[in-house]
């Protein structure tokens, strides 16, 4: 098996683990952790897409001459995704704080006043 494919497998594993956490854990904080796991998996996937074997980072400051660089676009995408992930995680955790204050619990199965 090609060693270059390993990051893709790790990314898929992270996504699956995140989904598992999101679906089967009961604590709201753990749900948020599940979401960040999926996010990490997707980010890893994106950044791996741009990797070229033996490539250097795509910056010309003191760059060695005539060496191949990795693709910069996926790195920009990943960075944007990380920034967005920061905002969503902060928002989700803030909601979790206030849910705990109002409901007195972080159990996802007890936070269900809105139903039917």
């Amino acid at each position: 098996m090609n060693i270059g494919n390993l990051p893709f497998i790790v990314a898929a594993l992270l996504v699956v683990l995140g989904l598992y956490t999101f679906l089967f854990k009961r604590n709201l904080i753990k749900l948020v952790i599940g979401i960040t796991l999926i996010e990490t998996g997707v980010n890893l996937f994106l950044v791996t897409l741009g990797y070229r074997t033996g490539g250097i980072s795509p910056i010309y400051t003191f760059a060695p001459e005539a060496q191949q660089m990795v693709l910069p676009t996926p790195q920009a995408l990943t960075l944007t995704s990380i920034v967005i992930g920061l905002a969503t995680t902060a928002l989700l955790l803030s909601f979790a704080v206030f849910v705990h204050r109002h409901y007195g619990t972080l159990d996802v199965r007890k936070v269900k006043e809105l139903k039917g």
Binding site: F22, L23, F24, R26, L31, V108, R109, V111, K112, G116
Partner: protein
């Protein structure tokens, strides 16, 4: 300009409105042929509830929201029991349905390819 044609059906709101007004006029004409012996304040205007007396209420009776369509909801109770149990309000279930549909769509798309 106002009409809408689907190629096999036609919908024209202006014509519809004219027809509506026309039927209204006709029904008023028909109504004017009716019995002129109608009197207010007599037994003719009393509410008829299968011969029973009108129930006394202090400031009028209001049929509340949940009382409407009681029969229909009761008739569909088997459906509503299921669909209410389905809307649990638990976030994990929301996500489970999403993942389930995702898997189903994958299978269908890959099979249809």
């Amino acid at each position: 300009m106002s009409g809408l044609s689907s190629g096999f059906g036609v919908w024209n709101p202006i014509a519809w409105a004219l027809l509506f007004v026309g039927i209204l006029v006709v029904s008023f004409i028909v109504r004017s042929f009716g019995n002129k012996g109608y009197k207010r304040g007599t037994g003719q205007t009393k509410v008829f509830l299968s011969g029973n007396d009108e129930p006394e209420t202090s400031n009028g009776l209001h049929v509340r929201g949940d009382h409407l369509y009681w029969g229909m909801i009761d008739g569909l109770s088997a459906y509503y029991r299921r669909v209410k149990a389905w809307h649990t309000g638990i976030l994990s279930d929301y996500a489970a349905w999403f993942v389930g549909v995702l898997g189903l769509v994958f299978v269908i798309l890959v099979l249809a390819r």
